[in-house]
């Protein structure tokens, strides 16, 4: 009986796989579906084994579950993979903000030796060799695949990944008091008030257009200088993009280096940063004093952060 169930399950999985393959092999007719196909296609890596989705995993809000992701030949990157969702309000991309647009961003991982390791020209050549992609690009862009249209399609797909169907949004947008618990409401009040979070994390995705240093740089074991690597300014040492917080409960581990495994670890850090990194360089004055959060405060903040998870992702 048990075996029968397993066989049924396996058949179900194979069936789903087959369906999925079938669906994706129809030639995409718009930018978003073309971008989606490209996002999941390992053809864009030298080993033909790594796709964007190998690191930006759909079930985890298009982020990765390990601190550092593995690229081609199991090469390890140097930073944590952020979510590729809710990117429409971002003014720049990567932890150090080195890409100004999604189009510019999209080609960088393809060529990065630690990620997909395929020169962009070779990637474009592979697409041009494929009857499937030739048809799709001609159909949508009226020209054969190019670096420009490749990046446009990838950008369009990511731009379609907006989520505002969270319990938090239901509470705020629809004034639905039942959408979240009292704990979430207290957590938001803390976030928006005495815990200072909102002074950095604000706007529609709880990020903003600045780079800040929360103290995770000491020039020793924590030696990623962040924004300073791009601007070469000492005032930018240890500054990073303010992590947007939508779907944050799904995107552990946290921070540019993935050093915190849980949201509780993040909250404990903000509560008393010196306890975890006693020798930071250039840490923001907003984190100068411990917050002295109570156990209930911490739970409330955590529950608020969890209320930012899209219902479409919870039901996966």
């Amino acid at each position: 009986m048990k075996y029968l169930l397993i066989i049924v399950l396996i058949c179900g999985m194979l069936g789903a796989h087959f369906l999925y393959r079938n669906r994706t092999s129809a030639v995409p007719e718009d930018e978003i579906s073309l971008g989606k196909t490209l996002f999941f296609d390992p053809l864009l890596s030298s080993s033909k084994k790594i796709s964007c989705a190998s690191c930006h995993k759909p079930a985890f809000a298009f982020a990765d579950t390990s601190a550092l992701s593995l690229g081609v030949f199991n090469r390890k990157g140097v930073r944590n993979t952020p979510s590729a969702m809710n990117v429409n309000n971002a003014a720049f991309f990567f932890w150090d903000g080195r890409a100004a647009s999604l189009e510019e961003q999209a080609l960088i991982p393809i060529a990065n030796p630690d990620e997909m390791n395929l020169p962009v020209d070779s990637a474009v050549h592979r697409l041009q060799q494929s009857g499937f992609y030739q048809a799709a690009f001609r159909n949508i862009y009226k020209e054969q695949p190019s670096a420009k249209t490749l990046s446009r399609a990838l950008a369009a797909f990511q731009q379609s990944l907006e989520t505002s169907d969270t319990p938090f949004d239901d509470w705020k947008m629809n004034d639905n008091q039942q959408a979240v618990s009292e704990s979430v409401k207290r957590g938001f009040a803390l976030f928006n008030g005495s815990a200072n979070c909102v002074r950095c994390h604000f706007g529609p995705d709880f990020s903003n257009l600045e780079f800040r240093n929360i103290g995770l740089f000491n020039g020793k074991d924590l030696n990623d200088s962040g924004r300073a690597g791009i601007t070469k300014k000492t005032t930018d040492l240890g500054k990073f993009k303010i992590g947007p917080l939508r779907n944050i409960a799904l995107t552990a581990p946290y921070m540019h280096n993935g050093m915190f495994k849980t949201l509780r670890e993040v909250i404990d850090y903000y509560d008393d940063p010196d306890k975890i990194v006693p020798d930071p360089i250039n840490r923001d004055s907003l984190l100068a004093k411990p917050l002295n959060l109570s156990e209930r405060d911490k739970q409330d903040l955590e529950n608020f952060l969890k209320s930012l998870t899209s219902r479409s992702l919870t039901n996966l």
Binding site: D169, K172, M173, D175, V198, C200
Partner: protein, 127 residues
């Protein structure tokens, strides 16, 4: 001292917002919106002024900012904008025209708030 003054203003404002007043005089409480276009696409900002003295502003299905307000006569005081210095309060004049509302700068030192608030014209959202 500044805090005390602000506290008094808040109390005053609360006193002015008693229900008996609401029936005769226009009230900021409730929902107001702005329709505009941004990069060729229609864009709506919804502001919900709540009895507890918070105002939530939302655009494209997402909360953009949740800050505090207090009303005294035809003056509104805003505070708690993360773009501004902590404890910074801006004061603006309210002018009602039937179903719409105009907000004009009286006194504020926070340039981002001035940009987002001064000369803004809202329409009352009809239920």
């Amino acid at each position: 001292m500044k805090k005390l003054l602000y506290g008094i203003l808040m109390l005053l404002a609360a006193a002015c917002n008693t229900p008996s007043n609401q029936e005769t005089e226009p009230t900021i409480l409730g929902e107001w919106d702005i329709h505009d276009t941004y990069e060729g696409k229609p864009w709506t900002l919804l502001a919900r002024f709540k009895p507890d003295g918070t105002v939530d502003a939302m655009a494209n299905g997402k909360l953009v900012i949740s800050q505090k307000f207090a009303v005294s006569g035809d003056t509104i005081y805003f505070s708690g904008d993360p773009n501004c210095a902590p404890n910074s309060v801006g004061s603006y004049k309210l002018t009602y025209f039937g179903d719409s509302l105009k907000i004009n700068l009286i006194d504020d030192t926070c340039s981002v708030r001035i940009m987002n608030t001064d000369k803004v014209r809202f329409g009352r959202v009809k239920k």
